[in-house]
Amino acid sequence: MKVRFYGKGLPGISDTQYPGKLITMEGPDGVGRSTQIALVREYLEASGYAVSSTGLKRSELASAGIQEAKQGHTMDPLTMSLFYAADFADRLEREIIPALRAGFVVLTDRYVYSLIARAEVRGLDPAWIRSIYGFALVPDAILYLRCDLEHLVPRVLNARGFDYWESGMDFMGYRDFYQSYLAYQQRMLDTFDALGKEFGFRDIDARLSIEEVFAQLRVAVEDSVGDLRPTVS
C-alpha cells in the first residue's frame, strides 16, 4: 500500500510504501462487524494471505486503563476521546504498521471514523478531533456495514442488550436506556453518513443476512488485496 497519512503522520516514519494492505471495517454498534471480520480473516488465510486483525481498546498500553475508566463512568467526552487516541496510536505504531511492513493484510474492527463520530456526537469540535488523528494511515479500503435502527435493535437485543456507552447514557440525558439508545444510535448513523462522504466509505448493505453481507465483503476485500497475489502465467 502507498503510505499516506490524514495529517502529518508519525514522528520517525518516512516510509512511502508497505507491502501489506490495510482494510478497515466500520459500522454501528451491534451490526455484526466482529462476526464478519472473523469470516473474512479465515477466508483470506485460506486463500494464502497472512492476516492480522485489531480493534478498539485492544492495545497493550491503554486497554486495561480504558476498561477501568469506563467502569467508573468518570470520563468526560474530551478525556475519553484522548484515551482512545492513545489506544489507537499504540496499536498503529506497534501492531498495524509492523504488520503492514511485513506484508500482512491488516483487518481492523473500527478505525478512526468511529472515534471521530463518537466525539462529534458528544459535542467536541469536529476540526479538533480530525487534527488529533492526523497521525492515522489512510487505509486501502473502508468498508462500512450500512444498517438502520429497525434492523439493528433485534440484533443488539439478541446479542448482549443495551450497553451504557453504546446508548449514549453518559451524555444524552435520557433515563431510559431504550430511548437513549435509539436517539444516540440515530445520531451516530447520521454522522457516519456524513463521514462516509468525507472519507470515501464503501457501503456494504448490512440489513441482509450474514451470508449475503459476507458475499459483498468478499468482493470488496478481493478488490483490495488482489494485487498482492502474483499472477501465474
Partner: protein
C-alpha cells in the same frame, strides 16, 4: 482572569509554573500556595501527570517500555484533560485560584524534544484554559543538573529520555534531553509571553518576586475561611489535637 479556549472569561485565576527539572519551580509554587492560603484565598492545586484515571496505564507503559513519543504525548493529554474537566475548570468557574505545577508548555517543550510535531501538540491542547500568569523559572543547565543529581537516587528510563537513544549512559542522555527541553522552553517564553523568574536567586528573593508578580491579579478571587477552626480553638481554649490528620494534607504540610 483565566480564559477558556472559547474566549469565555472565568472568574478564577490560574497561575502556572514551568521550568526544567531542578529549576526549583515546585518549591516556589508551594511557598506561593502557603502564602495564598494564609492570606485567606480559596486555592486549588493541580500537578502534571497526577490523574488517577491514567496512572495504571502510564505505569504499565513505563514499566514495559511501551511508550513512543506519540503515545506518551497522548497519555499526558488524557491526564491533562481529565484534570482540567474535573478539577481546574470547575474551580476557575467558582472563582478560585488554581495553581498548576507544569502546564501545557511542559508538553510543548518535552514532546517537541521527543520529535513530535509541535503544531500537532498545540492542536491537541487547544482546549486548555489560558492561564492568568505563566511563570518560567530560568536556570542554567549545569545548575539544574547539580540540584537533580545530588537530590535524587537515580534517573528513570523515560525521565532521562533513554527512549530517544541519545546515549547509552543515563546521565549523558538526561543532559542532552534536558538541554533540548530547555531550548524549546526558551522559544515558548516569547511565543506565549511566559514571565521569566531568575531561578538562580536565593529562594526567599525568588518568592518575593513571585508574590509581586501574582499580587496584582488577586483582586476578586474567592476567599475561604480555611482556618476558621483556629478561631474556635482560641475562643474555647482547646488544643485541637484530634484535628490532626483531619485537616487536609496540603494545609497540614
Amino acid at each position: 482572569m483565566a480564559k477558556l479556549c472559547t474566549g469565555e472569561e472565568l472568574p478564577g485565576k490560574l497561575f502556572v509554573v514551568e521550568g526544567i527539572d531542578g529549576s526549583g519551580k515546585s518549591t516556589q509554587l508551594d511557598l506561593l500556595r502557603k502564602w495564598l492560603v494564609a492570606t485567606g484565598y480559596c486555592v486549588a492545586f493541580s500537578e502534571w501527570n497526577s490523574s488517577s484515571l491514567v496512572s495504571t496505564t502510564t505505569k504499565r507503559g513505563k514499566k514495559r517500555q511501551l511508550l513512543t513519543p506519540t503515545t506518551f504525548c497522548l497519555m499526558h493529554a488524557v491526564d491533562f484533560s481529565h484534570r482540567m474537566q474535573q478539577q481546574v475548570i470547575p474551580a476557575l468557574k467558582a472563582g478560585a485560584i488554581v495553581l498548576a505545577d507544569r502546564y501545557i508548555y511542559t508538553a510543548f517543550a518535552r514532546d517537541a524534544a521527543r520529535g513530535v510535531d509541535p503544531e500537532w501538540v498545540r492542536k491537541i491542547y487547544a482546549f486548555a484554559p489560558i492561564p492568568t500568569v505563566a511563570l518560567y523559572f530560568r536556570v542554567p543547565l549545569e545548575e539544574s543538573l547539580r540540584r537533580i543529581i545530588t537530590g535524587r537516587p537515580s534517573l528513570k528510563y523515560y525521565e532521562a529520555g533513554m527512549d530517544l537513544g541519545l546515549s547509552d549512559d543515563t546521565l549523558e542522555s538526561y543532559r542532552i534531553f534536558q538541554a533540548r527541553i530547555q531550548r524549546e522552553y526558551e522559544q515558548l517564553v516569547t511565543e506565549y509571553g511566559l514571565v521569566v523568574v531568575d531561578a538562580t536567586l536565593p529562594i526567599v528573593n525568588q518568592q518575593d518576586i513571585v508574590r509581586s508578580i501574582i499580587r496584582p491579579h488577586l483582586e476578586g478571587a474567592l476567599r475561604a475561611e480555611s482556618n476558621a477552626w483556629r478561631n474556635v480553638l482560641s475562643a474555647e481554649h482547646l488544643s485541637g489535637h484530634y484535628l490532626e490528620g483531619l485537616v487536609g494534607g496540603r494545609e497540614a504540610q
